[in-house]
């Protein structure tokens, strides 16, 4: 198992390397570049000077090497539009995004397991069909539209929750204004719950027809016992992997949610930077978010290896 984990970590490092290369090259295609930083009135000389100053006239591999060296030391450069280092901006925003995604993911997965198992128990009955239909509809709803609907209903019409996320600077402050978290989290939960519940249902229905489930019935076990004593573990273990794989998707959703609710996380930062062509922020945030997803999926794989005896006890 140690070998498996070690291999997985090495793979992850390679993946992160690919990410940095891809993002670096993409960003070099950004139009405007230096000109947009200086504004329309800049003279060609000024542009050339800044270009040289930032090292942008050097070949891409050289620039990349320089950036990577800095990045490994925690230096991601300075924001062009905000007078702050990228590292400090990220340090301020990342925890908030993690709170949003972590909370949503935890709720979504728990909900999905319950719903998926219920559907498996009631498979091919009316309840199952209705739940499947609803799951599909939620999944098909664009995140921003879902957010808008929730705002219209719960904030505008019924005044139950605020339409704006808390603007606190600290995590504690976020939770202190907890009611502001309800709608952003609910949005993310609703659009992602279908992803997991469909999986849990399909997997549970599959496992219920497996030979080992039949063995359990042949022992004299009832359906409840078969479901909870035997099938459940076999269903849940792969969910961990799915969780890891879904992280990029959840972060995407979080970006949209953050922009809908003006939630001060990485997504909002990134969106504003994209609109303003703030090159260092775009680079830094993309890399950090990708590293986060990669770490997440490695953790998921390790958890899987620990949970599944077939991996745990393999030489």
């Amino acid at each position: 198992m140690i070998g498996y984990i070690a291999r997985r970590v090495v793979q992850a490092v390679l993946v992160v390397f690919v990410v940095t290369v891809v993002v670096f090259i993409l960003l070099h295609q950004l139009p405007g570049g230096v000109r947009s930083m200086l504004g329309k009135t800049a003279t060609p000389q000024q542009v050339a000077q800044l270009t040289q100053q930032l090292g942008l006239d050097k070949p891409i591999p050289v620039q990349y090497g320089k950036w990577l060296g800095g990045f490994l030391q925690g230096n991601m450069g300075y924001s062009i539009t905000q007078n702050q280092s990228v590292a400090s901006l990220i340090a301020e925003r990342l925890p908030k995004t993690l709170v949003l995604t972590g909370l949503s993911l935890a709720i979504a997965v728990l909900l999905a397991i319950v719903l998926g198992l219920l559907q498996a128990v009631w498979r091919n009955k009316a309840v199952d069909y209705v739940m499947t239909f609803v799951a599909f509809v939620f999944y098909a709803t664009p995140t921003f539209f879902m957010g808008l609907i929730l705002v219209l209903l719960f904030a505008v019409k019924w005044h139950l929750f605020p339409a704006q996320a808390p603007q606190a600077t600290s995590i504690g402050g976020l939770f202190a204004a907890g009611s502001g978290l309800v709608l952003p989290v609910a949005t993310l939960v609703l659009v992602s719950v279908a992803l997991f519940s469909r999986y849990v249902r399909a997997s549970a229905v599959d496992e219920l027809t497996e030979d080992y489930a039949r063995t359990a019935r042949a022992k004299g076990a009832g359906e409840t016992r078969v479901l909870f004593g035997h099938v459940l573990r076999n269903v849940l273990i792969p969910v961990v992997t799915l969780l890891g794989l879904s992280l990029p998707w959840v972060f995407s959703g979080a970006l949209v949610v953050e922009s809908v609710f003006n939630y001060p996380g990485m997504g909002l930062l990134f969106w504003q930077a994209a609109v303003q062509h703030d090159y260092p922020i775009l680079l830094g945030v993309t890399v950090i978010i990708s590293v986060a997803t990669v770490i997440g999926s490695v953790l998921a794989d390790i958890t899987y290896a620990v949970l599944d005896p077939r991996v745990r006890y393999s030489s």
């Binding site: 539209f145 808008l148 992280l247 998707w249």
Partner: protein
């Protein structure tokens, strides 16, 4: 938005050994597939809905001709039911019903084209990568993993910031992100198929690798590819909508359903519900329909596979 991996296939209840169904049965496999698909009422209704919606978008403008190029600030935000404007008008004075038609056109066109492009590229890369394995496969898959690790919307924003959005560039951008999932899926299929005896048989007869991939691996992954392509269309339409919402969609007077929804959100507190609900419901309905069709096809193909 792109789903990392679709939930596992719907299991086929009641696996009855082939021998019970006895003697060889006549009938072409496609007929069998279509037959099972037709039994899935949801999928059938979805297909019918999509046909109707496509007719509405593409034939509709011939019946209900409106000016969707010039703004007309004298008839801004008219209520539905106003003379000549069944669904009212939007903030620029465009007829909302006519706008729904051209928005739907864009969404369908871009969604389908991007899905097709992504499927073609992804299927070929995946099939060859999985079949050959080894170092090339390792390199390709690490690159795919790397691209997949960047959350879709972040990648989209980067790409969209680089190019000016037109229908063509949107197709390319969306396809550039979508092919990764197809590639990984088809690679998995190829890994499994390459150990099949008929592939070994072809190799032992002296079949070259490209021939083996194109004659055996790709055709046998076809059901997976087709089903996935359907889901890809749904995802592409969602991605497109999200792009428009983030302000990186098509420039007016062009629009897609997401763009209309985004425009409508500017007036959301004015109670102009007709600017939000028609495009919003249309997006959800189209995406749900494609998903149901994909599900129905998966069932249909699997029955055939179950009978082998």
């Amino acid at each position: 938005m792109i789903v990392p991996e679709r939930p596992g296939a719907e299991p086929h209840d009641g696996a009855v050994p082939e021998s019970y169904a006895s003697a060889p049965q006549r009938g072409r496999r496609w007929i069998a597939v279509v037959g099972v698909f037709a039994q899935n009422r949801l999928a059938l209704v979805s297909a019918a809905f999509l046909v109707l919606f496509a007719l509405f978008c593409f034939i509709g403008p011939l019946v209900h001709s409106t000016d969707q190029v010039h703004t007309n600030l004298s008839i801004v935000n008219l209520q539905p039911g106003s003379p000549g404007h069944v669904l009212g008008t939007d903030g620029q004075g465009y007829d909302q019903l006519g706008r729904l038609m051209i928005g739907g056109q864009t969404s369908l066109e871009v969604g389908v084209a991007a899905a097709l492009l992504a499927t073609l590229v992804g299927a070929l890369v995946g099939a060859f990568s999985g079949f050959f394995g080894g170092v090339a496969d390792g390199v390709i898959m690490r690159c795919v993993d790397g691209m997949l690790a960047i959350p879709t919307v972040f990648l989209l924003l980067l790409l969209a910031a680089i190019v000016t959005p037109t229908k063509t560039t949107l197709v390319v951008i969306v396809a550039l992100i979508s092919w990764l999932v197809t590639a990984r899926l088809v690679r998995g299929e190829a890994l499994m198929l390459r150990t099949r005896d008929y592939v070994a048989a072809a190799r032992s007869m002296g079949s070259t690798s490209p021939r083996t991939v194109l004659r055996h691996i790709v055709p046998n992954s076809l059901s997976v590819i087709v089903v996935n392509a359907t889901f890809q269309v749904a995802d592409a339409i969602l991605v497109l909508a999200t792009l428009s919402y983030l302000g990186l969609g098509l420039a007016p007077p062009q629009t897609d359903l997401g763009g209309m929804l985004n425009d409508g959100m500017n007036y959301v507190y004015n109670g102009t519900w007709w600017l939000i609900w028609p495009p919003g419901v249309a997006i959800v309905a189209i995406v749900v329909a494609f998903n149901f069709i994909g599900d129905g096809m998966r069932d249909a193909f699997e029955v055939r596979l179950q009978r082998r």
